[in-house]
């Protein structure tokens, strides 16, 4: 399950996508909108995305997680548009036979998504806004 959505992410549906009796370990990562960034109070976020390329890159991440990292079931969902504080921006779920593969694939997926998938975050503060530059 690979998706970009402009409505709240349904975490139960994400987990249901990776449910299976062959998989003993499931790891889910949720990225939420925090109320602060670099010492300033955040009011909300906007996410922009290049939809077809983002889906294509996410699909490539899923393939690599399966083939190289032992992930057996994968769900990757990112939200776009305006997000309020506490909202879930991204959900990554991985099921594998054993937990080390599930942890490692989930961690690799979110780390690599943040480096490679064309999605952009704009942070809004009380006194302005800026498009976030990734930390190197």
């Amino acid at each position: 399950m690979i998706a970009l959505v402009d409505t709240p992410i349904d975490v139960a549906a994400v987990l249901a996508e990776v449910e299976g009796e062959q998989q003993g370990g499931v790891v889910l990562f949720l990225g939420r909108v925090r109320d602060h960034s670099q010492g300033k109070r955040v009011t909300h976020l906007d996410y922009d995305a290049y939809l077809p390329m983002a889906l294509s890159e996410m699909q490539a991440l899923e393939v690599e997680a399966r083939e190289r990292l032992g992930a057996e079931r994968v769900a990757l969902v990112h939200r776009t548009g305006r997000l309020e504080l506490g909202a879930i921006a991204v959900a990554v779920a991985v099921a594998a036979a054993h937990r080390p593969a599930a942890f490692e694939a989930c961690r690799w997926l979110i780390d690599t998504l943040k480096q490679r998938v064309p999605i952009w975050k704009k942070e809004w503060f009380d006194d302005g806004a800026h498009w976030v530059s990734p930390t190197p």
Partner: protein, 77 residues
């Protein structure tokens, strides 16, 4: 040539795509030169170029009908 824009680059140019005068085929590096000449608002902007939804290398060739986009540093998640 149509070029798609996103995030901060779309805001700088006030548009989500721009029309560029450029002979085709052209290399990605040549696209950058045309952009620098014709779109001074992009001065100093850092971006990668994608062709048909995949990151391109500087010497990849752009041909008629390719979907071309400028990809500023991503910050999803």
């Amino acid at each position: 040539m149509h070029v798609l824009l996103f995030a901060g680059l779309a805001e700088r140019l006030g548009a989500r795509e721009l029309e560029l005068r450029a002979p085709l085929p052209a290399r990605v590096s040549e696209l950058r030169e045309h952009l620098a000449e014709q779109q001074p608002e992009l001065a100093g902007a850092v971006y990668r170029v994608s062709v048909n939804h995949a990151y391109a290398q500087e010497d990849d060739a752009l041909t008629e009908g390719d979907e071309i986009a400028l990809i500023p540093p991503v910050s999803g998640g």
